[in-house]
């Protein structure tokens, strides 16, 4: 299968590649993830129970509490952070969270990544240049 290349804006630099975990919904930090296990714990979320640790997390954006950055910061310290972040909506929660998670992060893409990318796809995230390369599974 061919690659799909999306262009966006750098949020955090760096370059990684890995398997995608995708949701069209926003994600809560506080009350939304378990920073020890690297899982989504929001009982009303479409990804409830899923593990984001080591995945390229593709999602709509951040929602809920200001503890968003703190939870992802903890996840990094516990080595269960996502590999990279690709999202649609930039808020202070998600920007700060991406910065302190210290993983490549890209936003403002020329296509909606939650529609183009599916869970399980292989994704390369070039944070510095704002490029997301998708190899469909």
């Amino acid at each position: 299968m061919g690659k799909i290349i999306l262009h966006g804006r750098k949020v955090v630099g760096g370059c990684v590649e890995g398997e995608a975990l995708v949701t069209t919904e926003t994600i809560s930090g506080w009350g939304g993830i378990d920073p020890k296990e690297g899982t989504i714990i929001d009982l009303r979320h479409e990804l409830a129970g899923e593990k984001f640790a080591g995945k390229v997390l593709v999602y709509q954006g951040a929602k809920g509490s200001s503890g968003w950055s703190g939870q992802f910061h903890e996840a990094r310290l516990n080595n269960v952070a996502p590999l990279a972040m690709v999202f649609n909506e930039t808020t202070t929660k998600i920007a700060l969270g991406a910065v302190v998670t210290r993983v490549p992060a890209v936003t403002d893409l020329d296509q909606d990544p939650t529609k183009v990318i599916a869970t399980g796809d292989w994704v390369k995230v070039d944070g510095d240049n704002g490029i997301v390369e998708v190899t469909k599974k």
Partner: protein
């Protein structure tokens, strides 16, 4: 991102290592946002609490907070804060720590933490509602606050300007007096994006919670304009509305013409914007929202009642006392009410705490179960008058949750059974 001379000086270390590391954090953050510059702030609300695990991992408050509060690998020694700063809610009540499953060791760490904060000059408000205990920002004031319900309150009701910050950005702001000039600091970003027509009666705090939860879920992180409100809300109702909206979505600002600070009219609320979407909230939407909020509840044997999310005001405590005076909680039901210490002090002075204690309940301060990830030992079914707590605590502790009015929660405490309905 453009930096002024004083900001460059901080970045160069001219005000010391701590300020330098804080400024570095703010630059990384500002660039991640795509902010054009930083703005001055004199009002920062943050979170600088170290838990036992963090203390064991890092070894000292300075080291914990260097990593967790300003995202610095280099350990710094924290100086006094530069601008007015307060501590938001904490994970435990120092008087009832044992009820939160915390140890004397946790308590001692907490007290030392408070001392560390006091020495920095951080105001130990320890509440999610600083505007109820003395920190009431003025319209147009640039703030840097955490706590989604507090952020939405001061932006909307008071017309202050803050984004929903995190612990790393707020501590950095405490040390520098700066925060990125982005989002809700910029006037045009504060204008309404969605029109919500209210087609049913919104009178009670329970109604306001349902409206907020629905609006938050639909609008997510944009700016809703709530039209056709017929009854002026009291502070506690609008507090609840915002908290609900910020939990179901990421609402940081809304307008209600005639009620919120920047909107005397629909035209003020939207400015040059055209509503992207017309949303209606009628009987059907109200019922749907009620069902969503009560979807985690199956058993009706209530063993825990949580009131005070956001933290209860003295009015709420007084109204609660009128409901419980002369009654008794059913054996086996924990009845916990949460408020800021200042409000609790007033409740004690007024004899309100005694009424709660005589009922068989506890008035707690500094914390809440969602933030502290605690619940009464063995409890499995909670009743709460808070849409926010009902949204979060099941995720945090696995407890089942019923959402209703304060009166319904009191009835559940007395009978041990949830009988709430719309």
């Amino acid at each position: 991102m453009y930096l002024r001379d004083d900001e460059k000086a901080m970045l160069d270390g001219k005000e010391g290592l701590a300020v330098q590391k804080a400024m570095e954090m703010l630059v990384r953050y500002g660039e991640a946002l795509g902010a054009e510059k930083l703005v001055d702030t004199n009002n920062v609300g943050g979170y600088m609490i170290a838990d036992k695990v963090q203390m064991e991992r890092f070894g000292s408050f300075n080291k914990v907070f260097s990593e967790l509060s300003i995202d610095s690998d280099t350990a710094i020694e924290f100086p006094k804060v530069k601008v007015g700063s307060c501590q938001f809610e904490t994970p435990m009540d120092p008087d009832y720590y044992h009820l939160a499953g915390k140890t004397k060791e946790d308590y001692d760490l907490y007290q030392k933490n408070m001392e560390f904060l006091a020495n920095m000059g951080i105001q130990l408000m320890c509440t999610c509602t600083p505007y109820q205990v003395g920190n009431v920002p003025v319209k147009g004031e640039h703030c840097a606050w955490m706590e989604s319900s507090a952020v939405v309150y001061i932006n909307s009701v008071l017309g202050a300007r803050t984004n929903c910050e995190g612990r790393e950005s707020t501590t950095s702001a405490m040390l520098t007096g700066k925060i990125p000039y982005w989002g809700y600091h910029i006037p045009e970003n504060r204008l309404g994006t969605h029109l919500v027509e209210v087609e049913c009666d919104i009178k009670t705090a329970k109604d306001w919670g349902l409206l907020g939860y629905y609006v938050g879920k639909i609008v997510q992180d944009k700016v809703p304009v709530i039209n056709n409100i017929k009854h002026n809300p009291a502070m506690d109702m609008i507090k609840h509305f915002g908290a609900a909206a910020a939990s179901a979505g990421g609402i940081e600002m809304y307008h209600i013409p005639g009620i919120t600070a920047e909107a005397n009219s629909l035209q003020d609320a939207f400015g040059k914007n055209k509503p992207r979407e017309l949303i209606t909230f009628g009987k059907k939407e109200k019922e749907e929202t009620y069902e969503i909020l009560n979807s985690i509840g199956k058993k009706t044997e209530v063993d825990f009642v949580m009131l005070g999310c956001p933290h209860y005001s003295i009015d709420q405590i007084w109204n609660l006392c009128k409901m419980i005076e002369g009654k008794k909680v059913k054996d086996g039901v924990n009845f916990w009410v949460f408020a800021a210490q200042s409000i609790k002090d007033l409740a004690v002075r007024n004899g309100f705490e005694k009424i709660i204690n005589d009922f068989g309940g506890l008035l707690m301060r500094d914390c809440c179960p969602a933030l502290g990830r605690f619940k009464p030992e063995g409890s499995t079914v909670m009743a709460t008058d808070s849409a926010k707590q009902g949204h979060y605590l099941p995720n945090m502790t696995g407890i089942e949750a019923w959402y209703g009015s304060t009166q319904e929660c009191v009835d559940a405490a007395v009978t041990g059974r949830w009988g709430g309905k719309l």
